[in-house]
Structure formats: C-alpha cells, structure tokens
C-alpha cells in the first residue's frame, strides 16, 4: 500500500469509527456496504477489513471518498431484505405455502396476503413482499428472532386449517338458523350441544358476533376442549340442550339466540355504551380532561379528501372553530356511481357535542349505506340518535344523493340551511327549498311528517352548494352578519370557475368581511359542479 492508499485507509477507518452504518451485519454472513448496499461476505474479525477492501477497491458508489453513505433506514430495509432472502434459502419454515401459493408466516403461522407464483417462484420477489406482512405481524414484532421450526409450523397450520374448516361449517349452519347451535342462556352465553357446557366466552348476541366471532370460538372449543365432540360427533337431542339451558337459567324457558335486527342491534349497542361512557366521564376528572381533546380528534377524523365522480367536480372547505363548533360532513359512495353527501351541525359544545357529532355521523353513514331515499335516511337517523340527546341538544342536517347518470341531486333537510343552486346558463342563484325540523327535536311521525323532499337538475356548469350557518353568520367588527345575500352574490361572482376556485374565493370573501374578528363557529362549504360540456 502506497502512502496515498495508507492515508485513504486511515481516513476511512476514522469515518467508520463514528458511524454505525459501517457495522450493519446481515445474519452473521457479512457486513453491508454503506455506499452500494451490497453484502460483503465475511465472518468475525476479518469482516471489517474485507469491507474496507471492498469500499476502496470495488465499490463504485464510494467514488474514492466523494460518495456518501446511504441513510440508516435504507440500510435497515436492505438488511431485512437480505436477511429474509437468506432465511428463505436456508430455513424450510420460511418457504411453506399452500396449494394456492399463499405464504404462511413462520412467526404467527397464519396464511398471509403474500403469494408465490408456482410457475415462477422468485426468492427476490418473495423477500420483497414478506416485509409487508411482517410490519403488521404481532408475533414477529414481539420477537423477530423467534420463528417456528418447519415441523411445528406444519402442525400448527394443519390445526389452523382444521379450525377454519370447522368454523366455516359452523358459520354456514348458524346462518341457516340451526337451532341446536344457537342455544344460549339469558346472559347470552352459548351452551355447547355436544358437552352441554356453558361456554362463557362464546356469545351470539349480535349479527357481528354470530357471523365473525362465534364460529371460530365454537370451532376452537369443539376441537380442543369439548369432551362430547371428541367422543362422538353427534349433538345431544334439542330438548336435552334446551333443558340444560333452562337449568342454567335457574328456571323458565331458554332464550334462543334469535337475530335481533343486524345493524339496528349493533347501533343500539353503541348507543348504550355511549350513554355509559358519558356517565363514566361525569364521574371521573381524569377522563374528563383526557376526553376534552377528543372533540378535536373527532373533527380531524372527518374525510380529508373529496370523492372523485366522473363528469363532476366536488370541492370542500372546512374551517373548524375549536371552542364551540359542531359541524360535520360525510360522503357515502353508493351503488351505480351515486354519492351521498351529508352536512350537519350539532348544537351545544364541548365533549357532549363531540359525542353527538360522532354518533350522528355514524348513524347517518350506516343509514345512508343501506337506504336510497334521503327522507328515510334522515327519519331513521333521527330515531337512532333521539335517545342519546340531552334536553336542548339537537342536530341540523342536510342529506342529498347525487345521481351522475341523471345529473340530479335528490335532497332532504332537517332544519339545516337551504342548499343553493347556481345555474350556469343564466348566472342566477336560487335556494333549493324543502321542509324539515332538526334531528332530535321530535321523534316518530312528529318528525317524519314535517320532512319533505326536493330535487335539483344540474345542467353543464351548474353547481349545488351546501354549507353550515357558520358561513352566513360570520360577523364583522360591527356585529353585522355576512348573510345569505352576500353569500349568493359571491357564488354568482365566481360560479363560472371550477369548484375548488369557487369555494376558496367564497371563503376568502367571508374572511375579508370578518376582518380582524375571530371566527365564532365552524364553517363548512361543499360545492358539487357538473363539468361544462
């Protein structure tokens, strides 16, 4: 080595001393070059020397000291990739797939979304896909070194497949209404028809539990704990199972696990829990403090992006006022390319308004997914939330459905501001009027009868706008309201432009009007524009 080479080596050694990127090992097979990310195979004390020889002599990225090492994150990613590739080569348990090519994780023993093409199995491709599973794999994250040996993994997979197969059969039978499998106690606990034991952790109380949770738990019980199932795969006679349920209940007839209305039941459970949460919060200062933040989080959870509808522009402007506002909005994509649009405003403030807002949005979303008629959506949502509202709390709401095939918006309004229609041909703006009182004021027919439907046909360039009263009630320094007239003038002035430009200009106009005055309420503005021909 000449003097130049010696000096270069000293410089490199000094650099490596302070930089952990020169010490990245790949499964004890060698060090990773921090410049070109290649594995320099070597073991033990020689590894560092071999790395330096590689860097000085072969590595093009080093470029005689002009290059710079890659970031640690890139090196970690490369190390994981090479480590996985090594594991795939040398450990059988890393290469287990089923007939369809699904790769089984050697940590959690579950089938993953990673698939191997049996015609063209590529180690590199597999090593690149596996980290997507490992990032979410609970067992891997708990201990990345502890993968299962192939034999144990195969046994676990076979047991898992057996469990899944039986669970699928049970799910089918439950869905077909097999009474023998649906015997529960008054406390909604399942009674096994094979061993007559009350299995506490199996519940059939809701559609979700019946479809998703219970079949797997029942299968687990039958295959691993049930003496009756092990002895004979025949259930006891139904009267005997019913008698056992009656016995467990103390006396009286058994309570069958009859479906109780799917989503309705689910929603009512959430409602019940919200009432309880409210009570808990009232009793606990720490909870109260913690949940003060929750309201802001609820608003942050509102959709950030607007949906894309061919032939239409949709623009949104939402400016939250964190002290007292209660605005929310939602978009629900429906079959046939239709789009449900909801805008609402909860009276009251603080955590109460946050809970009501979250609840109303959830109820509207669930109803909008299942129903087509905006009137029905609002009627059902009203029934859903009325029991949860404290006296004096109500929600004004707009709900409309855009049908892009017919270029029509059908809408209903529960005490909310009128929607506005901008007609491109005439440049005029009009209110789309319909009747309705806010959600939570009256229940049943009292609310339903007052609700009317309206519709609006959109010609090319036409716009439908929905907004909250925070916009029209924005105040200037003299306490004068921005008002509907200024709003309509503003829409008229910018209606020829695209939807994004329009909502930004309208909001800028409101801000200009308010001057130095603070914003007292949330402002929501949604514009739906049919693209000009």
């Amino acid at each position: 080595m000449d003097i130049g080479g010696w000096l270069g080596r000293r410089k490199l050694e000094k650099l490596a001393e302070a930089d952990p990127r020169f010490e990245v090992w790949v499964a004890e097979r060698g060090l990773l070059c921090p410049y070109c990310l290649k594995l320099v195979a070597a073991r033990g004390a020689d590894a560092r020397e071999k790395l330096f020889v590689h860097i000085e002599g072969i590595c093009e990225r080093f470029a005689e000291g002009a290059g710079s090492p890659e970031p640690m994150a890139a090196m970690e990613e490369r190390r994981q990739f090479l480590g996985i590739r090594e594991a795939l080569k040398f450990h059988e348990s890393w290469s287990i797939t089923d007939k369809t090519g699904r790769w089984y994780c050697p940590f959690c023993a579950k089938p993953t979304k990673v698939t191997v093409d049996p015609e063209n199995p590529s180690l590199d491709k597999l090593a690149r896909l596996i980290p997507t599973h490992l990032r979410a794999c609970f067992s891997y994250r708990s201990n990345p070194e502890n993968f299962k040996p192939a034999e144990e993994l195969r046994e676990l997979i076979s047991r898992l497949q057996q469990d899944e197969k039986l669970a699928a059969q049970i799910r089918e039978k439950i869905e077909a209404g097999a009474e023998i499998l649906m015997q529960v106690t008054r406390a909604a606990k399942w009674v096994c028809p094979y061993c007559l034991v009350c299995v506490e952790h199996v519940s059939l109380a809701s559609e979700v539990l019946r479809r998703f949770t219970a079949p797997a738990l029942i299968a687990k019980h039958l295959l691993h704990n049930c003496e009756g199932f092990r002895a004979s795969r025949t259930t006891r006679p139904l009267p005997e199972v019913k008698a056992r349920v009656a016995q467990l209940d103390g006396a009286g007839a058994p309570v069958p696990a009859k479906p109780e209305g799917g989503e309705d039941d689910y929603l009512s459970r959430i409602r019940k829990e919200i009432v309880e949460i409210r009570r808990d919060i009232g009793m606990n200062d720490e909870l109260q403090q913690s949940l003060k933040k929750a309201r802001q989080v609820v608003q942050q959870m509102l959709p950030k992006k607007v949906p894309v509808i061919p032939g239409y522009e949709i623009a949104l402007h939402f400016k939250s006022c964190l002290d007292v506002g209660g605005d929310f909005y939602d978009f629900v994509e429906k079959p046939g390319g239709r789009l449900g649009i909801a805008v609402g405003d909860v009276s009251g403030h603080g955590l109460e308004a946050a809970l009501v807002m979250g609840m109303t949005r959830k109820a509207l979303n669930m109803r909008a997914r299942g129903l087509t008629d905006p009137l029905e959506v609002l009627m059902h949502a009203n029934s859903d939330i009325v029991p949860d509202l404290e006296t004096g709390t109500f929600v004004t709401c707009f709900y409309g459905v855009l049908d892009p095939a017919r270029h029509e918006v059908v809408l209903a309004r529960a005490g909310h501001c009128f929607a506005l229609h901008y007609a491109a041909r005439s440049g005029e703006v009009r209110a789309v009027k319909s009747n309705g009182i806010p959600l939570g004021v009256l229940t049943g027919p009292g609310f339903d009868k007052l609700l009317t439907l309206a519709s609006c046909h959109l010609e090319p360039g036409d716009i439908l706008l929905q907004y909250s009263d925070g916009l029209t009630e924005a105040q200037d320094g003299r306490r004068e309201l921005y008002g509907e007239q200024r709003f309509m003038d503003s829409v008229r002035a910018y209606g020829r432009h695209d939807a994004d430009y329009l909502v930004n200009k309208v909001y800028a106009h409101v801000q200009q009007f308010m001057g130095e005055e603070p914003q007292h309420d949330d402002i929501t503005l949604i514009a739906v524009r049919r693209k000009p021909a």
Binding site: K110, H133, I277, G358
Partner: protein, 118 residues
Amino acid sequence: MASAIFEEPGFRVLKQEGRGEGTLVLKLEGSCTSLDFLSNVERIEKIIRGLPESAVVLDVSELDYVNSRFISLLVLLTGSKKRIALHHPSRMLRDLLAVVGIIDWFELILPEGPGTEA
C-alpha cells in the same frame, strides 16, 4: 409462554414472553361485562401503569363484550404516557373509539386475510 399479571375466573391479563425491547405485550382475555373485570378495572389499570415498559401492545383479539368501562380503561392508560397499541380490535371496539373520538390515540394492528375481521 405467558404469565398472568391479573387473573380472575372471568377475566385475565397475560404477560407474553419474548417481547421486543421496551415493548410489552399483554393479552386480555375474558368478558368486559364480567364482574371480575368490572370490579377490578382500577386494579388492572394500576398494574399496567406500574409496568416499566414505555410501549404496550394490548392483544384484545379474545376479548368479549367491549364496553364503556373498557374504553375508560384505555383512556386512563393513555394518560400514563405509554404508547398503546391494540392488537386485533373488533369492529365494535373500533367504532366505539371512533365515535368517542379517540381512535387516533392508539396504534391499531388489524388482522390480515379474509374471514379474520371480527
């Protein structure tokens, strides 16, 4: 291997072995409507708060009947400054967290593959 840090017939909290550095994995099993849970929420909270790890993964995949008391427990645990992750939360639990507005406070580890969503 797992050892119980709280165990009653209707509810137990298991400490999973083989955890990553600074992260603790606790498996919660049983029903949130059982008296064993309801009458011991404060005790469970204190036990978990007292653990030295700064990040806790709560495996709730085998937890039944999540309810307001469980939500309260989660809220109080976030006050402990520990990072809390929920492993396989049910749809009910996720919806409740969303409605209350605290879903962003937790890292959610969701199940993969068809048919595993509960």
